[in-house]
Amino acid sequence: MGKVLVFAEQSHGNLKRSSIELLQAAAKSGNTVVAVVFGSHAGDVTAAAGHNGASEVHVVKDASLDSYNPELFTANIVSVVEKVQPTILLASASSTGRDLFPRVAARLNTGIASDCTELSISGDTVTATKPMYSGKCFAKANFENSAVKIVLMRANQLPVAAADTSKSANVVEQAVVKPDLKTLIKEIVKGASEKLDLTEANIIVSGGRGLKEAANFKVLHDLADVLGATVGASRAVVDAGWVGHGMQVGQTGKTVAPTLYIAVGISGAIQHLAGMSGSKVIVAINNDANAPIFQKATYGIVGDALEIVPKLTEEFKKALHH
């Protein structure tokens, strides 16, 4: 058995669900699990990392790591890898993970499989499955010539069990490594939404041209508030300027994998399906019974979105407050 290193991400001092998925999957494999956390709040999540399977947490508690910088993060991950000597490195295919780990893989002269949806670890062997051709098929990634096998997992793909508060991790403080940087992050422009990003959301309520006009997106936001969901959109409404591009789901938007995807007034063009067909349960609401979205949906409602969505919001309110 070897060591599995998990890059644990946190938000406002809480361990992200996607990181909990990875820690628990690593722990189940019987390997020694080591977590690494960056930033001034790194210390806040060491207990949670222990409860979810890490026996050791390396914290690099430095404010310079509070926001992402590819060169700085690469240097610090590589430094931790050299100390821990893992055979497997897991991270989530978040915006940071996807940007950072290919660079880390290149520096470590090792292999990486990105955007995976299934993971199985047996000793030092790791097999990951990833969707290809916009989810039209799946393939298994087999590592060769890789001292550290790096796998980036999509969020919401692995089961999460209750945390075991009787377990705790050894905390190892690491000094930050500061290379000469050629990249400077000048400014972070806050997003429109404080909600979970589409790529991490467990429930997504998505709207298309069937909503008729920008103002009608309010009914989706009301529904999303009740469900704790994130709002997405089709390209048609992004191109029409009703919502920002950050909300677009699809081939040229975001690839999402929620448990529940509610598509409202979306026809189901192949480029939209490319981004959302990995959703576990799909609900389609459309006034055209022949809309292609119904071929992908689990449950279908034929009718006027503006009539049905507010009714749904009321029903969910009732159901969730019992």
Binding site: Y68, P70, R98, P102, R103, A105, A106, R107, G111, D115, K130, M132, Y133, S134, G135, K136, C137, F138, A139, K140, A141, E144, N145, L181, K182, T183, I185, K186, E187, I188, V189, S193, K195, D197, T199, E200, G244, G246, Q251, T252, G253, L260, I270, A274, V281, A289, K296, A297, T298, Y299, G300, I301, G303, D304, I308, K311, L312, E315, K318, A319
Partner: protein, 257 residues
């Protein structure tokens, strides 16, 4: 200055995917190949940058089977690129692809800015640009929706989570991976297409690049199609009944609430 654009040829989105009998790949017979959609933004931005900086040149570079990849290089030439290079190769992974691209760019004297797409829609990995940057020892930014060059530095806007954006400044040379929204890619003009047809595309054999066999790191196997979905369950009654039934099904049958 020299501007490089890395492009990948991918199956058109509408392509129906069939798996080979040995399950180790897809059947490429009958596939319509196109320039990766994100790479169109990369080519467009490179051409705009060239036009704004007298004496500049845009080089497009692709690794893949030369007989077909050449078509996508001609598309990029028709959009306004000046020179094209193909690295003739099959069965490269992201690591060896990035290595090959880096070796060629170095051998051609380097570049001030290197554009790529944010991801290739076939493998959906978004890894080549970052690896390329590492092999060239230069900075990179991915998911870029705004680009400016001030003669020395590059300033880009990068889309991050929750609709937020980062403004990033990089010293050149730098790798910039394009997202949708960066620009509106132009259609190739007829004279552009005619000119592109006559261009000589430089061919380099992957084997001549002295990249060790151990630089192949990941092999894909066991290709499979998604499981058949059970047919959709349509809900009946008026909108109130539909809403009530849906909530019940999501809670009791699908168990997602």
């Amino acid at each position: 200055m020299k501007i490089f654009v890395c492009i990948k040829q991918v199956p058109d989105t509408e392509t129906k995917i069939k798996i080979t009998p040995d399950q180790n790949g897809i059947d490429t017979a009958g596939i319509k190949w196109v320039l990766n959609p994100y790479d169109e933004y990369a080519v467009e931005e490179a051409v705009k940058l060239r036009d704004a900086n007298a004496g500049s040149q845009v080089w497009v570079l692709s690794a893949g089977p030369k007989t077909r990849v050449i078509e996508s290089l001609r598309t990029a030439l028709a959009m306004g690129a000046d020179e094209a290079i193909v690295v003739n190769a099959e069965n490269l992974d992201n690591f060896s692809t990035a290595k090959a691209l880096a070796e060629v760019i170095k051998a051609e004297g380097g570049a001030k800015v290197i554009f790529s797409g944010k991801l290739a829609i076939d493998d959906n990995a978004s890894s080549v640009s970052q690896m390329l940057a590492e092999f060239l020892n230069v900075p990179h930014t991915t998911v870029v929706s705004k680009f400016a060059f001030n003669g020395e530095n590059v300033v880009v806007e990068r889309d991050i989570e929750g609709g937020a954006k980062e403004v990033v400044q990089m010293m050149t040379p730098a790798v910039v991976a394009a997202n949708k929204g960066l620009n509106m890619p132009r259609y190739a003009s007829l004279p552009g297409i005619m000119k592109a047809k006559k261009k000589v595309i430089k061919e380099i054999e992957f084997a001549s690049l002295n990249i060790p066999a151990t630089d192949l790191k990941v092999k894909y196997s066991n290709f499979s199609l998604p499981a058949e979905k059970p047919p959709v369950k349509m809900l009946g009654g008026d909108s109130s009944a539909q809403a009530a039934e849906l909530v019940k099904l999501l809670r009791d049958e699908a168990k997602v609430l």
